[in-house]
C-alpha cells in the first residue's frame, strides 16, 4: 500500500518522523560548521591580539601620539663690548581659528572695528586659509601695539576663536648702522627649499638671509625641541604628553665696536662711501661701514613692495654692500705696497733716488705720465716718494720691477683674491697681470700698463676689505691675519663666553726689518712730515699715525679698456681714498676710508679716518667730529649716476 502510493505520487509522501530525524541531523551538521567557523574567527582575533599585538599596538600609539616641533630661540648677536646688535623681542599677533570663529569673514569684519587690519594682512590671511586646516590657528595681523592688545582684551568675549598670541621677532636695535654686516633674517621661502626639508627647521619660520645672520646661520639657529601630543584622526592636538625643550642658538660676540661704527657713520654725514677698520694684531674687523645703508628690520617679516622698490631704485644703492662688493681703483694707496716690492725684490734700496720732472716717459715713447705737481718734485728717495706721493718714482719702479714681479709680490698681500672674511659673497677685485689680461681680454700686455699699475691705476680694482686686510698685514709687520668678525661665542645666557680659536696666521711676508721700517717711516711722514700730503689730517694727534691717501677715478669698463691716460679731467667724480694705522710704533688699528665723489683722499676721506682712529684710541677723550665739508660744497648737487661699478652681484 505504502509502496504503491509512493510509486504513484512520490512527491506527496511525507514521513514526519523521518523529516524530524533528518532535520536534527542537519541542525547538528550546521551547528558543527558554525562552531568550526566561530573557532576560525576566534583564532583570527587571537592572531591579531596575541601574535600581532606588538606591531599593532605600536601602530595605535603612532596614530595617537604625534611629535610637534618647538622652535628654538635664535642666538643673539653682540658687539665686542657687549652691545646688543640682534635680539629677539616679544611681540603679539592676532590669530583666528576658523573652525571656532564660525563665519570667518564676518568675524574679521567685526575685528576691523577694534583693530586696524590692512589689505595686505587680509591677502596673506586668505592665502593661509587656503592651505591650512580649519582648526589650525592662522595669524591675521602681526606686531600689535600695546594699545591694540588692550583694546582687543576688552572686546575679547565678542570674538570666539580669536586670540592674541605672543611670539619672538628678530629685532636689530642699531638698525641701518649695521644693516650690511649683521644682515637680516627673513621668512623661509622657496629659495631655501633644501632648508625646508631639513628637520632642524621643522619649527622655524625665519632664516638668515644676508650678513652675519646668514654666514653663522648654523650657530645661531639652535636645536629644535619636541612636544609629544595626543592627536585625533584629524590631527587636532588634545593634550601634551611629554616635552623636549628646544635649545637656543649660540650667542655671537663680534669683533665690531658699535661705538666706532656709529662714530664713523656720523663722520660720513650722509656721503656715500666705506670705512673698514681691522686690528692688525689678529685680523679682527672693528668697524665696517657702507654708506648709505638700510634698516634690516624692514625685511624681517617681509618688506612691503613699495619699500623694496624704493630701496632698489635709490641712486646710491643702499642695499649694495660697498665693503665687500665695491670695486675701487686703489690709486696712490697702492704705493707703499709697490715700494715694499721694490725693496724686498732688491730693485731698490731706501736711499735710491729718482728725478721727478713732472712727466715720465718710457724710452722711445712720446706719451707722458704725469706727476700731480707741475714741474715735478725733483730728486726723490723712498721716504719722500711716499710723503709727497711722487708718481714718477713709482712709474720708474713699476717699470724696473716689470708687471710679473709686481703682481706676484702684491698677490702676497691678498690683492686679486677673496680675503676669506666671515661673510658671504665678497668680490675678488683685479690684480693686474699678464695672465689676468689674457684671460679677461685675450690681449697681450703693454709696457705702459705696467707704468700706471705702479700708481694703482689701469686695471686695478680693490675692495675696501681687501685694501684694509693688506694694510693690516703691512701694519702687523708683514704677518697676515684673515679678517674676521666673530670673536667669541656663548652657548646660552649663563654659559661662559668662549673666544673663537685664533685663525692660522700667514708666513711673514717681509723678510727684512729695515725695509719695513723704511716704508713705515715714509707713511708716518705722510701724516707728520713737513712735506706730507696728509699733514693736516695728522696734525695735533696725541699718537703717531702712518697713512697714505689716494685719489682715483671711478672704475668703469670704458676706463679699463682705455690706454690708461691720466689726462681725464679731475672732477667730483673722483673717489677719495685714505688708509692709516696707529699708533705707528705698535699699531692696534688699521683703517681704510673711501668717500665717493670726494675731492681728494686726504681732504675728504682723511678726516673720517682720523676721527675713527681718535675714537678708537682715545675713547671718551676723542675730540668731537668737526665737519670739514664747507656748507657750499655740502649743498652742491651730486652726480646722479651710480658711482661704483659692482664687480659681482650680491649672492643671494
Amino acid at each position: 500500500m505504502k509502496t504503491l502510493w509512493s510509486r504513484r505520487r512520490p512527491v506527496l509522501l511525507k514521513d514526519v518522523a523521518l523529516e524530524s530525524v533528518l532535520f536534527k541531523r542537519r541542525a547538528a551538521q550546521g551547528f558543527a560548521i558554525i562552531v568550526l567557523a566561530l573557532l576560525v574567527l576566534i583564532a583570527r582575533y587571537g592572531w591579531l591580539q596575541v601574535i600581532e599585538h606588538g606591531s599593532l599596538s605600536t601602530a595605535a600609539e603612532q596614530n595617537r601620539i604625534k611629535s610637534r616641533p618647538l622652535p628654538p630661540s635664535r642666538g643673539l648677536i653682540y658687539d665686542r663690548n657687549g652691545v646688543l646688535l640682534a635680539e629677539n623681542v616679544l611681540e603679539y599677533r592676532l590669530e583666528i581659528v576658523p573652525e571656532q570663529a564660525g563665519d570667518v569673514m564676518a568675524t574679521v569684519a567685526a575685528i576691523t572695528a577694534v583693530i586696524r587690519i590692512d589689505p595686505e594682512d587680509l591677502e596673506r590671511f586668505g592665502q593661509l586659509r587656503q592651505s591650512q586646516r580649519r582648526f589650525h590657528s592662522l595669524p591675521i595681523k602681526f606686531h600689535l601695539s600695546e594699545e591694540e592688545v588692550a583694546r582687543f582684551a576688552v572686546n575679547r568675549y565678542r570674538f570666539p576663536g580669536v586670540e592674541v598670541v605672543p611670539y619672538l621677532k628678530r629685532f636689530y636695535p642699531l638698525g641701518a648702522d649695521l644693516g650690511h654686516v649683521i644682515g637680516y633674517v627673513g621668512r623661509i621661502g622657496t629659495e631655501d627649499r633644501e632648508r625646508l626639508d631639513d628637520p632642524r627647521y621643522s619649527a622655524t619660520t625665519h632664516i638668515g638671509k644676508t650678513g652675519i645672520e646668514r654666514y653663522y646661520e648654523d650657530r645661531l639657529l639652535g636645536q629644535v625641541g619636541y612636544e609629544q601630543v595626543e592627536t585625533n584622526a584629524e590631527g587636532r592636538a588634545l593634550r601634551v604628553l611629554g616635552r623636549v625643550a628646544p635649545k637656543p642658538g649660540q650667542n655671537l660676540y663680534l669683533a665690531l665696536d658699535a661705538r666706532l661704527q656709529q662714530a664713523a657713520i656720523a663722520a660720513f654725514e650722509g656721503r656715500p662711501g666705506v670705512a673698514v677698520a681691522i686690528d692688525p694684531n689678529n685680523g679682527e674687523v672693528l668697524c665696517m661701514v657702507s654708506q648709505p645703508s638700510f634698516d634690516p628690520n624692514w625685511f624681517v617679516n617681509g618688506i612691503s613692495r613699495q619699500n623694496y622698490t624704493d630701496l632698489l631704485a635709490a641712486s646710491r644703492r643702499p642695499l649694495f654692500d660697498r665693503t665687500l662688493l665695491g670695486g675701487y681703483e686703489p690709486g696712490s694707496t697702492i704705493k707703499p705696497f709697490i715700494a715694499m716690492a721694490g725693496l724686498e725684490l732688491g730693485v731698490r734700496t731706501p736711499s735710491d733716488t729718482v728725478f721727478s720732472t713732472g712727466e715720465f716717459h718710457l724710452p722711445g715713447q712720446a706719451k707722458g705720465y704725469r706727476d700731480w705737481k707741475k714741474g715735478g718734485h725733483g730728486r726723490i728717495d723712498l721716504h719722500e716718494s711716499l710723503a709727497q706721493s711722487v708718481n714718477t718714482y713709482y712709474y720708474q719702479l713699476a717699470n724696473d720691477l716689470g708687471i710679473d714681479r709686481l703682481s706676484s709680490y702684491l698677490a702676497g698681500f691678498g690683492f686679486g683674491q677673496a680675503t676669506g672674511i666671515d661673510l658671504n659673497g665678497e668680490a675678488v677685485g683685479v690684480l693686474p697681470s699678464r695672465a689676468w689680461k689674457q684671460a679677461r681680454y685675450g690681449k697681450a700686455w703693454y709696457p705702459g700698463e705696467t707704468v700706471i699699475s705702479g700708481i694703482g691705476q689701469g686695471y686695478w680694482v680693490v675692495t675696501p676689505i681687501q685694501l684694509a686686510a693688506a694694510l693690516a698685514t703691512l701694519a702687523g709687520n708683514g704677518i697676515h691675519h684673515r679678517p674676521h668678525l666673530l670673536r667669541a661665542t656663548q652657548a646660552s645666557f649663563d654659559a661662559v663666553i668662549v673666544p673663537v680659536p685664533a685663525l692660522a696666521q700667514g708666513a711673514p711676508l717681509i723678510g727684512n726689518a729695515t725695509h719695513l721700517a723704511a716704508v713705515h717711516d715714509g707713511m708716518v711722514a705722510v701724516m707728520h712730515g713737513p712735506t706730507g700730503t696728509a699733514r693736516r689730517v695728522g696734525a695735533n694727534a696725541p699718537y703717531q699715525i702712518a697713512g697714505k691717501s689716494g685719489t682715483a677715478q671711478r672704475v668703469t669698463s670704458a676706463k679699463r679698456s682705455a690706454s690708461g691716460n691720466l689726462n681725464a679731467p679731475e672732477s667730483f667724480r673722483n673717489q677719495a681714498l685714505f688708509m692709516a694705522y696707529a699708533p705707528a710704533a705698535q699699531p692696534t688699528i688699521a683703517v681704510v676710508v673711501v668717500v665717493e665723489h670726494g675731492e681728494s683722499g686726504s681732504r675728504a676721506a682723511g678726516p673720517i679716518a682720523r676721527h675713527i682712529l681718535d675714537v678708537y684710541l682715545l675713547g671718551a677723550a676723542a675730540p668731537p667730529w668737526v665737519s670739514p665739508v664747507p656748507a657750499s660744497a655740502a649743498s652742491a648737487p651730486l652726480a646722479p649716476a651710480a658711482e661704483v661699478k659692482p664687480i659681482a652681484e650680491p649672492a643671494r
Binding site: L12, G30, L41, Y45, E52
Partner: protein, 371 residues
C-alpha cells in the same frame, strides 16, 4: 504566617504568569546580556553620548516588546499569514526602489508615520516563505522544489541588492538557503550549487557597484590605499590588535576616542569592544552568541511541525551569519560589507527585526511538542 501565605501567593502567581508568558529564559537571558554589553560599548564608542545610548536603549526596548508580543502568538498564525506577508514585502521592496530615500542608497521608505527599511521585513518574510513552501512537500526537497525555493529567494534578494544593500541581500538570501539546507537537501546537490555559485563570481563582479568592487579590492590588499579605501580595514585591525589579550579597559579605546576608527558606533563597534576587552572579551561574547545559536537550533529541533522547525533553524543560523560577517570584516577576514554586529551595533531597524525573529522562536518554543 500571613507573610508566608503572601509570599507563597506571589510565587504562585509569578509561576503562572511565567508559564503563560511562554518565554525561553536561557535564550532571553543571553539576548538581554548581549544587549546590555552593547549599550555599554556604545556608551564608550560614542564618547559617552547619553543621547545615542538612550536612543539605542529605546530601540532595543521596542525590539524586546515586539519579542514579547510575538512570543504569545501561536506559530500557526504566522504560518497562515506567510504568503501575504511575503507578497506585501515584495511590493514594498519594489516601492522603495521607485521612491525610496536614504544617503547613497534607496533603502528607506517614508510612510509619514513610520520610516523603515522594507529589507528588514524581508529578513523574516523570506525564510518564512521558503519554509512555508517546503513544509507541505516531502523532504528532502526534490529538484523542482529546489528551483521554486531559489526563485523565492532570488527575487527579494535581487531587489535588495539593487538598492544597493549588499549586506542585507546577503543576510536575506542566507536565511533562505539555510531553510533549504535544513530541509535536508542532499550534500552532492549542495556541492553542485556551490560550484555553480563559484563559477558565477565573475558575473557578480560585473554587476557590482564600483564602491563594492573597491571594498573587495581593499580586503585583498588594504595597504594599496591606506588613507583612502584601505583606511577602515587598517584602522580596525589596529584597534583589534592593540587590544591584546586583556584589552585596554572599558572606555580606554584610543582608536575610537580619537576618531581613527570610522563608523565606530555602527558597523565597526565590535572593533571598539575588541580593543577595550581583548581576546578574552571577544571569546566570551562569541561564546554567548554561539549559545544563542545553539539554543535556537535546539528549539527548532523540538518544534512541533516542519514549518516551525525550518524557520527556527534558519533564523538561528542567520544570526551566525551576522556574527561571522561582521566579526570577519573587523578582523580583516572578509571584505567590508554593511552587516551589523547583532544587538551591539548602533542602529534600530536590524535590532528590531532580529528581536522580532527571536519572538517567532519564542512562539515556536512555547508551542513545542511536549514530553
Amino acid at each position: 504566617m500571613i507573610d508566608r501565605d503572601l509570599l507563597g501567593a506571589i510565587r504562585r502567581r509569578w509561576q503562572r504568569w511565567w508559564q503563560r508568558s511562554r518565554l525561553d529564559l536561557p535564550l532571553l537571558g543571553a539576548l538581554l546580556l548581549v544587549a546590555t554589553v552593547g549599550l555599554l560599548v556604545l556608551f564608550s564608542a560614542s564618547a559617552e553620548d547619553p543621547q545615542q545610548v538612550l536612543n539605542q536603549a529605546l530601540r532595543l526596548g521596542f525590539g524586546f516588546a515586539v519579542l514579547l508580543v510575538f512570543s504569545r502568538l501561536p506559530p500557526m498564525w504566522f504560518r497562515m499569514l506567510t504568503p501575504w506577508f511575503y507578497l506585501g514585502t515584495l511590493g514594498l521592496l519594489v516601492l522603495v526602489l521607485l521612491l525610496g530615500e536614504g544617503r547613497g542608497a534607496n533603502r528607506w521608505l517614508d510612510l509619514k508615520l513610520l520610516r523603515f527599511q522594507p529589507a528588514e521585513l524581508a529578513k523574516l518574510a523570506l525564510p518564512m516563505m521558503v519554509a512555508w513552501y517546503l513544509h507541505t512537500r516531502a523532504l528532502p526537497p526534490r529538484w523542482r522544489d529546489l528551483w521554486v525555493s531559489c526563485l523565492l529567494i532570488a527575487v527579494p534578494a535581487l531587489l535588495i541588492a539593487k538598492q544597493p544593500d549588499l549586506g542585507t541581500a546577503l543576510l536575506v538570501s542566507a536565511s533562505g538557503v539555510f531553510v533549504v539546507f535544513l530541509a535536508g537537501l542532499a550534500w552532492r546537490r549542495i556541492l553542485l550549487l556551490l560550484g555553480l555559485g563559484a563559477a558565477s563570481v565573475p558575473l557578480f563582479w560585473h554587476f557590482m557597484h564600483e564602491y563594492q568592487r573597491n571594498r573587495v579590492r581593499m580586503f585583498l590588499d588594504p595597504e594599496a590605499d591606506p588613507l583612502g579605501n584601505g583606511w577602515n580595514i587598517i584602522q580596525s585591525k589596529i584597534a583589534v590588535g592593540s587590544g591584546g589579550l586583556f584589552g585596554k579597559g572599558f572606555m580606554d579605546s584610543t582608536q575610537a576616542r580619537l576618531d581613527f576608527l570610522p563608523e565606530h558606533t555602527t558597523d565597526f563597534i565590535f572593533a571598539v569592544f575588541s580593543e577595550e576587552f581583548g581576546l578574552l572579551g571577544v571569546t566570551a561574547l562569541i561564546a554567548v552568541y554561539l549559545f544563542i545559536i545553539g539554543r535556537g537550533l535546539w528549539i527548532a529541533a523540538n518544534a512541533r511541525d516542519s514549518w516551525s522547525r525550518l524557520l527556527a533553524g534558519s533564523l538561528s543560523m542567520t544570526f551566525f551569519v551576522y556574527v561571522m560577517v561582521n566579526g570577519g570584516m573587523i578582523a580583516g577576514l572578509m571584505p567590508v560589507v554593511g552587516v551589523p554586529m547583532p544587538l551591539i551595533s548602533y542602529g534600530g531597524t536590524s535590532a528590531v527585526s532580529l528581536l522580532a525573529g527571536f519572538g517567532l522562536l519564542m512562539s515556536i518554543h512555547s508551542h513545542r511538542r511536549l514530553g
